[in-house]
């Protein structure tokens, strides 16, 4: 089974990935699947009724708002970063957690690089299909590099202004 990096109990660990990414023109395999928003709109309810776990992949130009009512049924939202510098996915992840209260897995997919670990984690991603072969240790090192953060974000870290107020 393929591996990915997940945050489990606050730790970055290597984990089995039970999900299969299914393209729009592919046949539907058995088991847990991640499909596009388009395919989910057409087949989502049927897939879920088959008792499997279903995830949806959101491309940068797709609005996460379209999924708002379906979120409780989803196991995974895969946020796509076709290029690391395309930052729309950060807003998608942020909204999933902060505005829609999504509790499932938010997975970063695409050009997912260690140097982005901090930003991705802070925006609420908790699993990572890395594109640079990072080990969980390297990933954790990059994500936890800074002892302090200046903003409230979806990872719940204490921002500098709260640290100061409490000291």
């Amino acid at each position: 089974m393929p591996k990915l990096i997940r945050i489990i109990d606050g730790q970055f660990v290597s984990a089995d990935d039970p999900f299969t990414h299914v393209a729009d023109d592919e046949g539907m395999p058995s088991g847990d699947v991640i499909v596009s928003l388009t395919r989910f709109s057409a087949e989502g309810d049927a897939l879920i009724s088959q008792g499997r776990s279903v995830g949806v992949r959101i491309e940068p130009d797709e609005e996460v708002e379209a999924l708002a009512y379906d979120l409780p049924k989803l196991a995974v939202v895969a946020v796509a970063f076709p290029k690391y510098r395309d930052g729309r996915g950060f807003s998608t992840a942020h909204l999933l957690r902060g505005r829609f209260g999504f509790k499932g897995e938010v997975r970063a997919v695409g050009e997912v690089l260690r140097e982005e670990a901090n930003f991705l984690t802070r925006c609420g991603c908790d699993s990572f299909e890395t594109a640079d072969g990072s080990s969980p240790e390297q990933w954790a090192h990059a994500a936890n590099r800074h002892r302090h953060v200046y903003q409230r974000a979806s990872d719940g870290r204490t921002p500098a202004f709260t640290e100061r107020a409490e000291s």
Partner: protein, 551 residues
């Protein structure tokens, strides 16, 4: 001034350590130059024509003496004994070796300086009023908000991969010394009728290929709602700004495409959903505000006998006082502008020795407070009139007493083809040539306020669009040509300059400026600046004179 606490310091130390590791990985060949590029750019390290350039952030253009001395020291030990102050009030070192860059960042961190977010598609250094805390015009200290924005924007989780770079200006005075209307976001502190504080929010100004004076999208934003509103604005931009073409990716293009009303509507709609939970706590703003509490000023009278006597005895000082000293809010104090536009010098350059002199003067006479202006000059904001002559003499001895603030020789120029890989033409030699032509100080003063701004390419780092006279370097079949624009302004009366006519070859530029000045002197009526005359007469008389001579 704001003092870094343990949190701010540890943040910088962590950042420096991270970069050190990244450089080591690059030097060991573990990552390619292409992969490394984004990492170095996030730390202000550019690869230029001849060497690496390191751009050090000077947050809202404010430094203390220790910091300026450290910059001088780095210039001496890692560069060629100087640095270049930029139009974003940053400092650039142009001759840096990659393997020394981590050591430089570590040294910068020891004096609370850094190069974070001085490049890349993120929120850049905030521009603020160099007279903040010193001018009677302001209704609040804009540094308070600038510092809050600095913190909020540091490695912002969501807004560090924007479609393009993003620049803020914050001012609280009616006279705009920040070019707020040509920034991605300009914030102008306002008071409502009931006295509550807030901001006029200007979004989508900018220069580059498609210059815009930014429209106001909200007349009055309550100050305590600033950060939720910025969240909303940046989110609309991050999600909807163009990413297919970097020349069309700035927020100004989105605002222009949607129109001011529709953009503002989208921001308001998002803002309602964001809610007050995204605002910075009042306690944190109060903590920052306390750091900018006015220094203890002596109780003095308006008139300084020492100052008057020195002016009468020393005509050079009288001239300096006339052009470089600006009114301070407190009796007996003055704001001293230090020109980095010596005749024939490179605009914005200062040697390490000069930086040390300014640091010493700031410490001894200026409450340890030194500012950088976006017009590439330095400022000692709090000097006693009694001390002004001593300051002048020390500056003069260091070649820093050029009395030309806001005059025709106080030219902004980008580094141009002498340094920059993007440039089409040189900017510095043009600036030097014009300065030599107008070196006669009496004539320069007769001409009065006239802002010349020169860019070596359409990216407009030299702000040519908003020069009273703008000069843009263009490449015509391998030859350097220069396009003139007239009537621009980056101040409160912001406007984009109008193209005068066909571009001129390099050796015709200074003559053309001379001609334009002569037309102005002929046409002007009492009290008019060049800009006022131009706005009254339009291009015609200038165009006729410049291009008549070409035939």
């Amino acid at each position: 001034m704001y003092q870094y606490d343990t949190i701010d310091r540890e943040f910088l130390a962590d950042r420096a350590a991270e970069f050190k590791e990244q450089v080591e990985r690059r030097l060991a060949g573990e990552i390619t130059e292409d992969q490394f590029k984004m990492l170095r750019l996030r730390n202000g390290l550019y690869l230029q024509l001849h060497a690496y350039m390191l751009r050090v952030a000077i947050p809202y253009g404010s430094l203390n003496a220790t910091q300026l001395r450290k910059l001088a020291d780095i210039g001496r030990r890692y560069d060629k004994g100087y640095g270049h102050f930029t139009t974003r009030t940053n400092l650039q070192f142009h001759w840096i070796k990659l393997r020394e860059a981590p050591a430089i960042l570590e040294e910068l961190a020891t004096v609370d300086l850094h190069a974070i977010q001085t490049s890349g598609n993120c929120i850049r250094n905030v521009t603020s009023d160099p007279y903040a805390g010193a001018t009677a015009e302001e209704i609040d200290d804009p540094r308070v908000w600038s510092e809050a924005i600095r913190q909020w924007s540091m490695l912002h989780p969501e807004f560090s991969h924007l479609p393009r770079k993003f620049k803020f200006a914050v001012t609280a005075a009616p006279k705009d010394r920040t070019a707020a209307r040509v920034h991605d976001i300009g914030l102008v502190v306002r008071r409502a009728r009931d006295g509550t504080m807030g901001f006029e929010v200007i979004v989508g100004g900018g220069m580059g290929r498609t210059p815009y004076v930014g429209p106001t999208i909200r007349e009055f934003l309550p100050a305590n709602r600033l950060f939720s509103y910025l969240d909303a604005t940046l989110r609309v931009y991050n999600r909807h700004g163009r990413r297919d073409n970097s020349y069309k990716a700035r927020i100004k293009i989105l605002v222009a495409a949607l129109g001011r009303e529709e953009f503002a509507r989208q921001v308001e709609e998002e803002w309602e959903k964001v809610g007050a939970g995204a605002d910075m706590p009042d306690t944190e703003i109060a903590r920052i505000r306390a750091a900018f509490a006015p220094k203890a000023f002596d109780t003095l009278v308006n008139r300084s006998e020492a100052f008057e006597t020195a002016k009468a005895a020393d005509p050079a000082f009288a001239r300096f006082a006339r052009n470089n000293l600006k009114p301070h809010k407190r009796p007996g104090y003055t704001i001293v502008e230090i020109s980095l536009k010596g005749i024939g010098d490179t605009p914005g350059d200062a040697t390490s020795d000069q930086m040390d002199v300014v640091a010493d003067l700031g410490e001894r006479y200026g409450q340890n407070d030194i500012r950088i202006t976006h017009e590439q000059n330095l400022v000692l904001p709090h000097v006693k009139l009694d001390d002004a002559h001593a300051v002048f003499q020390a500056l003069a001895a260091a070649g820093l007493a050029t009395p030309n603030i806001n005059l025709i020789t106080d030219i902004i120029a980008c580094p141009g083809l002498d340094y920059c890989a993007l440039a089409n033409a040189r900017a510095i030699p043009i600036a030097q040539d014009i300065a030599h032509r107008f070196a006669d100080q009496d004539r320069a003063e007769l001409v009065g306020e006239l802002k010349i701004k020169i860019s070596g390419c359409i990216n407009a780092c030299g702000h040519h669009h908003v020069g009273h006279i703008g000069i843009l370097g263009v490449d015509k079949k391998g030859e350097e040509f220069y396009q003139l624009t007239l009537g621009g302004s980056g101040a409160e009366d912001a406007e984009v300059g109008k193209m005068l006519g066909p571009a001129l070859p390099a050796d015709r530029v200074t003559d053309a400026i001379d001609t334009i000045v002569e037309v102005y002197l002929r046409e002007r009526v009492e009290g008019e600046r060049f800009l006022d005359t131009f706005r009254r007469t339009g291009s015609a008389p200038f165009k006729e004179a410049v291009y008549a001579e070409a035939h």
